[in-house]
């Protein structure tokens, strides 16, 4: 099963169209393996993106270099998945 240890989900806040375009550029960089949970839309509309561990540093540097604000929505995707799986198994065990 695919493992998401160290993957983070960033919530990106874009202030204007230029910043939306910058984030869209990121989307095209296939080697970063980004998974947009909420894609780039319009200024004011949050963008959520899952970033694999190897790409985190590069993405954060890129966003900060362009003055694009972000917060970490999910610190570690795998830990949420583990919780979800435990909950399912607990139910099945019962």
């Amino acid at each position: 099963s695919e493992d998401f240890v160290g993957h983070q989900v960033l919530r990106i806040s874009v202030a204007d169209e230029a910043q939306v375009q910058k984030v869209t550029e990121l989307e095209e960089l296939e080697h970063l393996q980004l998974d947009f949970w909420r894609g780039p839309a319009q200024p004011g509309s949050p963008i959520d993106v899952r970033v694999p561990f190897p790409s985190i540093q590069a993405v954060k540097v890129f966003l900060e270099a362009h003055g694009i604000e972000y917060t970490i929505m999910i610190e570690d995707v795998q830990s949420l998945l583990d919780e979800e799986r435990e909950q399912m198994f607990a139910f099945q065990a019962r």
Binding site: E2, D35, R38, P40, S45, E84, Q87, M88
Partner: protein
Amino acid sequence: AASTDTFNYATYHTLEEIYGFMDLLVAEHPQLVSKLQIGNTYEGRPIYVLKFSTGGNNRPAIWIDTGIHSREWVTQASGVWFAKKITQDYGQDPAFTSILDNMDIFLEIVTNPDGFAFTHSKNRLWRKTRSITAGSSCVGVDPNRNWDAGFGLAGASSNPCSETYHGKFANSEVEVKSIVDFVKNHGNIKAFISIHSYSQLLLYPYGYTTESAADQAELDQLAESAVKALSSLYGTKFKYGSIIKAIYRASGGTIDWTYNQGIKYSYTFELRDTGRYGFLLPASQIIPTAQETWLALQTIMEHTLNHPY
């Protein structure tokens, strides 16, 4: 589960458990519920639709589907809860009883079975179908970009590795083609509601063009009423509007095609959440999410019943 009364609606389930639930529900309510197979998936799994009918022949109908994007687990889980709710409310709730006395409801709970099975076995965050694209090592097509409505225009990707890959041609995905054939053969569907998550939105056509839908004013007004009903339960805030205005340009989408087929009340829901868990919504939120969504669905269904066309 021994019955749909002991089935646990507050946890996520596998494909087999959901299909087992469907059989239980049909067995418990043979006069009201039947299970139709509308096709087989790319990997050969059956595609089931539950039909809720109190009689008549080819009555005007309401279509609800969940789980077309397989990782949006709260939607399939809500679909299971809706199915049980329908059997509980018919004959009890006068407004809902009136809907089912005059219309049929079709509910497709697992609209992307291959993708859903894959989220349980290999990759919890899988979104697309599992079809193989000749010439590419990447798998799957976005089933919400594969419909014959603005197919291939801006708002989808031609890259098989993209999460929004539209596929080689419209309806290339059998999971989509099965619904297309069903809708065309039935010919009397009056409302089509496709349920996604997340971001708390109620959307109506169009996504592939900035042109307004002919019924935009009515769709907007009904959306406002529906989100008000939804919000009345737990205060969950939804925005509403056309796809292209409320979020972004998206081509080849489900409800653009259904609307162009003449199904006026075509809506897409984006359920919880606002940005804490995303697709990994805790199971403890399944029932509240389904309950609030049901209020919005009832608003749309009542409007459809009261505004025949």
